[in-house]
Point group: C2
């Protein structure tokens, strides 16, 4: 049985869509138990709308809610009875294997480190969302947790990202690349130049060199390594350019009668195409390298993304990702003779 | 009379498209003289295809060509008789007001600094392309010249970018923003945190704060300030996501008979829409802060972009951009009591 805590109060569509997604996930697997963490009365009221197997969904009361705009460190420290802090403490105590939250990104990152805690040997836990590409999906690691990272952090990101892509997403021997401003080895800023040779020598990963941002949407690598500032820019620009282009295309189709008729005809095919460029079907972004699993889903997550994030936790647990990370980073330490 | 040197040998479609673009520009303005720099015989042969006003286009022989893959510093130092070096020397000596090249980016950046030279007071000359947005166009500064920049460089980028947007692109009191991973002032990496208060206090610019990458395609600011590594990622991802999405949309439209018929109907409207998301109509990217003007156009530039880049040089010169930069950065120095 895998136990998954779900922050019922976090996100733009909480608690409605969060609970709906949790019920969907419960319906898909017999071997999971979902603990909805939040204001008990509200959550129970919402749960009444659905039917589910007895005992498969339980409610854990938490009186407080962390708002998106609250300073994260303060929120985690002071709101001991918030849904996020209560849920994370359940992961810490082993009462839950994972927690899924669509709440404040900052609070999730801080709480993951402070409450759930890092795996021994992990220097900085990265946030690693899957992003859609022409060929499928790539892992962007780190995209928001550790600005001004050091080379050794990036090497760990490459290792953890490889394990995740191979065992959760199912890509054999995933290609690892570092984001750079040119394909040649001598290109880059100080961080990339220092990291590049370390990645080249790093055992157990399939390092293919630099990747220019242009190649990311084409699926040029499976694990895209970068420090968090750059990763965040990539993630958000991905969304921004996509949204802008599509809204312009839609607007363009409405300019004449001819194009309006054409739009009706192309709509189903277009919808199908764009669905394949939508990452929400893969669920949320895991915060890797913690003693447990923390998954951050988009603030505007609807039921499907919440459901997929829960299923993602199951694969993560079944595949023993944290054991593999412990083993890989432990091995690294031994090789360096530090342990 | 404004004299513009054009590197006839640089770029994927040189010399054909370059020369075609130069002839187009010459046809549009009486007050410019274009000097085509390159292998004289080849250039003259190509020029025979066109008619133009006597003396408006001349040829300056340069026997060598710098290839894209050559190490830039070496190329600039050793190939004294290359089209790029000869053209840049003309700018240096005042025989030309500007040079346009679609050749090696690295060589253009190095040559700009080493041969043409910086305006006194300019610490690092940034490369500043215009990028398309939903609302028009924004200036991305710096996008490739100075990785690992310091806060003082970014402040100069903001000043120079504002002058350019106001007087070349014609946007009154342009909104300046710094690329960041959140909208709040306390967010960011070390560079952004240090730069933010300096921009807030910087006179003569309309600083509106941080901009998240997501807001760039929506036209959230007119001058987008960032260090070169981040700027390069933004520029290339812009191109990459756009190209991928459009090829997916095109592919999607070919999946059924119904959508194929629809595609025929929407094609003209779609083409019109996407044209407005194409930055090539604005010309190339200026390298700002030099004693003269160096404009880098895309390696795959066709005649239209070359022509627009030449016209851009005219506006730059007419508006006295370099004089304004000198005045602005000189004033900064006096204010700091350093002069």
């Amino acid at each position: 049985m895998i136990n998954i805590a779900v922050d019922a109060m976090g996100g733009d569509y909480a608690p409605g869509e969060i609970i709906k997604g949790a019920v969907q996930a419960a319906g898909m697997r017999d071997d999971i138990r979902i603990i909805l963490v939040g204001q008990e009365e509200t959550v129970r009221e919402e749960l009444k709308k659905y039917t589910f197997r007895d005992g498969q969904i339980t409610v854990q009361n938490a009186a407080e809610v962390i708002a998106t705009e609250e300073p994260p460190v303060n929120a985690i420290r002071k709101k001991k009875d918030s849904s996020l802090v209560v849920g994370m403490n359940m992961v810490k105590k082993g009462e839950a294997d994972a927690i899924v939250s669509a709440g404040s990104s900052g609070a999730i990152l801080v709480g993951g480190q402070v409450i759930v805690g890092r795996i021994r040997g992990v220097e900085r836990p990265p946030l690693a969302p899957l992003i859609p590409t022409e060929k499928g999906v790539s892992l962007l690691i780190d995209c928001g947790a550790n600005v001004d990272a050091r080379p050794s952090h990036l090497v760990q990101f490459a290792r953890m990202g490889s394990i995740y892509m191979e065992h959760v997403v199912g890509i054999k021997n995933p290609r690892v690349a570092i984001v750079n401003i040119g394909a040649e080895e001598e290109k880059g800023n100080a961080l990339v130049k220092e990291t590049f040779p370390l990645l080249k020598e790093c055992p157990g990963i399939n390092f293919i060199g630099s990747i220019e941002a242009r190649e990311i949407p084409h699926g040029g690598a499976d694990v895209i390594v970068c420090e968090a500032f750059v990763g965040n820019v990539i993630l958000k620009l991905y969304e921004g350019v996509g949204a802008t282009l599509l809204s312009m295309v839609k607007g363009g189709l409405m300019t004449s009668l001819r194009s309006k008729i054409g739009a009706l005809l192309v709509k189903p095919a277009l919808k199908e195409t764009l669905k394949s460029f939508d990452a929400s079907k893969y669920g949320g972004a895991p915060l890797l390298g913690l003693n447990g699993l923390v998954v951050k889903t988009h603030g505007n997550s609807k039921a499907t993304e919440v459901c997929n994030s829960i299923i993602q936790c199951v694969t993560f647990k079944e595949q023993g990702i944290n054991e593999k990370i412990r083993e890989s980073l432990g091995r690294e330490k031994s090789e360096e003779g530090k342990e």
